[in-house]
């Protein structure tokens, strides 16, 4: 029992903070990049739309692990740009998430009916005002369910950062079971993996619940939407 508690303690004190930081950081960066990309993909001039589309296609079409390695080993070995492992993972996952988030927001903006823009223009709003006061508040509400999926998806993707040695939950779990299996036997690999799975599950649950609460708080009649399946 004490081995379990000790392992759990290690996971929570020396793995969890990095996982949370990485998740929040990449979601924030992804939002900061993803939202403008979505906006430009809908409202930008044609060449800008093409560029954004290309960006989004590239980062959605490459596996996360490839991006992480590219930002770490790829950059350091070829260009001698040596990024700390955490920064490499953060950048790789944030860019990837920005591509996914841009699609969430683009879809939400485009699912606001054309009549809303017409009505806003008809009462004298400029296009910018119409977007700000009519389109975006609706798009924001429509995007929460998909954004909740993105959250739970990238939270688990952060475990890939362990591949380049970022000491987050997964890496910490690996460190624990490589040691413990010699002292207590190979079945402990299973125990530690279940333990780390449980921590990820609780994190996902807490995050989804919080976002569900946000969805409920901002819900208004006519915008009822259930969350979609995870990607």
């Amino acid at each position: 029992m004490s081995t379990i508690l000790q392992s759990l303690n290690l996971l929570i004190t020396r793995g969890l903070p990095t996982t949370i930081l990485l998740t929040l950081g990449l979601l924030a960066l992804g939002l900061l990049l993803g939202f403008p990309i979505a906006f430009l993909q809908v409202y930008g001039p044609r060449p800008v739309r093409w560029f954004c589309r290309g960006y989004e296609q590239v980062f959605r079409g490459v596996p996360a692990i490839v991006l992480i390695l590219l930002f770490h080993s790829g950059l350091s070995r070829t260009f001698h740009i040596l990024l700390p492992a955490f920064v490499s993972a953060l950048l790789a996952l944030a860019l990837r998430s920005s591509a996914y988030q841009s699609q969430i927001f683009r879809g939400a903006i485009q699912s606001v009916s054309e009549g809303q823009m017409l009505a806003a223009r008809s009462v004298g709003m400029s296009k910018v005002r119409a977007i700000r006061h009519v389109i975006l508040p609706q798009a924001f509400r429509l995007s929460i369910p998909s954004w909740t999926n993105e959250f739970s998806s990238v939270l688990k993707d952060t475990s890939l950062a362990s591949a380049i040695g970022v000491l987050e939950l997964m890496k910490q779990a690996t460190l624990i079971f490589t040691r413990v299996q010699f002292i207590r036997g190979a079945q402990w690999i299973l125990v530690i993996l279940i333990l780390v799975a449980l921590v990820y599950w609780i994190l996902t649950f807490v995050g989804n619940t919080a976002l569900g609460y946000l969805e409920k708080r901002t819900r208004i009649p006519g915008f009822e939407m259930k969350g979609q399946v995870e990607r």
């Binding site: 009916s113 017409l118 009505a119 008809s122 009462v123 508040p137 609706q138």
Partner: protein
Amino acid sequence: MDAQQHRALSELVLRVEGVHKTYGDNHVLRGVSVQMRRGETKVIIGPSGTGKSTLLRCINQLTTPDEGHVWLGDCEITSPKEDINCARAKIGFVFQSFNLFTHLTALNNVRIAPMKVNKMGKAEATELAMMELERVGLADKAEAYPAELSGGQQQRVSIARALAMSPQLILFDEPTSALDPELIGEVLEVMIALAKEGMTMLAVTHEMGFARAVADEIIFMEGGLILEQGPPEELVQNPKHARTGEFLNKITELYGE
């Protein structure tokens, strides 16, 4: 120009001259001219695909005409120098599908444009919005969202939304076509009251009851042109064109008297 002519011109709220609009190969409007004096109500009728809605949209520039001019009072809103947002703020538009802002309550739907476009203070805008909701008989629904209102109520809120900008004229694009028959009456009642209060109104509608009650003129459009226009009784009793008579018979059959 003598004094009488000048007065006649200054009373003109809207002057549309020679408007053309083409979508691809489809020449929707082939040179349409309309004039509206202050307080007048005109009804546009005609077969579907004739350019009635396009004409309304060309007036407030939701669609840009290919050719022709539109004046609102003394200012030409088709001129590139004109601030179109400013012009649109003075022209109310009521859509067939209501297009209320889905995320806003009835009250917010009505007061958002006075607040964001005219920079009116919140208290003043609220007072104005409540007054307009009262005018369409929906003050008690101020806090309801569009999804909680019937079609007829939504359309009345959208009329209040247009009224809140104190428009010089209101364009109605088939305002009752999307409504269940039992809800049409409440919207027409509001429109008739507005016309009687002296609002300048140009409505695309086949509700002949409305036309007879308040229209100064009926305009019959076909094939992107105005074929004939005149006071309701005249047009109904002795249409100059056979097509006008045929069409009027058809809609009388469909919509009743």
